[in-house]
Amino acid sequence: EPEVTQTPSHQVTQMGQEVILRCVPISNHLYFYWYRQILGQKVEFLVSFYNNEISEKSEIFDDQFSVERPDGSNFTLKIRSTKLEDSAMYFCASSDWSSGGSGELFFGEGSRLTVL
C-alpha cells in the first residue's frame, strides 16, 4: 500500500542551526501539508502546498520556515535558525485530487526534531 515516508525519523540539532525535513508523498497525490505536534499536545497546521505554491499557512509558519518541492517526488520543510521551541514531531501529509485539498489526509510517521 502506498505510504508517505519521512526522513530523518529523529534529528538533534543545536539552536541556531538550519534543519531540512524531507517527505516523499504518495506518488499520485497533489496536495501536501506539514503539521507539527509538540509532545502530548495538539496537531498544529503549518502549511499546505498545491501546484508548486503555498495554498495556506498558519501564523506559526513565519519567515523562519519554508517549503519546497525540488523535484517530482520530494517535499521539504526547511527551518532556518532553529529555536528551542521548534522541538516537536513534524508530520508530512498528502491527499489526492479526488478528495481535493480538504479530504482524507495520508500521514507519514513523522520526524522528531530536538533542538538543544
Binding site: 508517505v4 496536495y31 501539508y33 503539521y35 499536545q41 495538539k42 496537531v43 498544529e44 497546521f45 499546505s48 498545491y50 495554498s55 495556506e56 514531531m89 508530520f91 501529509a93 481535493g100 485539498g101 480538504s102 479530504g103 482524507e104 489526509l105 495520508f106 500521514f107 507519514g108 510517521e109 513523522g110
Partner: protein, 113 residues
C-alpha cells in the same frame, strides 16, 4: 479559529464497552473527519462525514454530525484494547479558498483488557 475541540480530554473504559467522543467546531464546514493516533505515530484517517450527511458508519465506528449545533460524535462500539489511542476530529478551515485541515486537541482513549 475553526479548530474542533474534543471532549472528554481522556476516557478510560473496559474492553467491550462503547466509547463516545465529541467534537465541537466554530464555523461552517464542508466536511469533518476523525483520525486516530497511536502514541508517537502518524495519524490515520478513520472516517469523513460531509456537511450534508447526518450519520455514517464504518465497521465498529459510528459518526454523527449536527451542523446546527456545530458538533460531531464518534462512537466506537465493543471496544478492544487495541483501540487505545488518541482520537482527533478535523475540519476544513480555510476561509480563503485554500486547503487547510485543522485538528482539535484530541481525546485520549484507554481501553483496559
Amino acid at each position: 479559529s475553526q479548530q474542533g475541540e474534543e471532549d472528554p480530554q481522556a476516557l478510560s473504559i473496559q474492553e467491550g464497552e462503547n466509547a463516545t467522543m465529541n467534537c465541537s467546531y466554530k464555523t461552517s464546514i464542508n466536511n469533518l473527519q476523525w483520525y486516530r493516533q497511536n502514541s508517537g505515530r502518524g495519524l490515520v484517517h478513520l472516517i469523513l462525514i460531509r456537511s450534508n450527511e447526518r450519520e455514517k458508519h464504518s465497521g465498529r465506528l459510528r459518526v454523527t454530525l449536527d451542523t446546527s449545533k456545530k458538533s460531531s460524535s464518534l462512537l466506537i462500539t465493543a471496544s478492544r484494547a487495541a483501540d487505545t489511542a488518541s482520537y482527533f476530529c478535523a475540519t476544513d478551515a480555510s476561509d480563503t479558498g485554500g486547503f487547510k485541515t485543522i485538528f482539535g486537541a484530541g481525546t485520549r482513549l484507554f481501553v483496559k483488557a
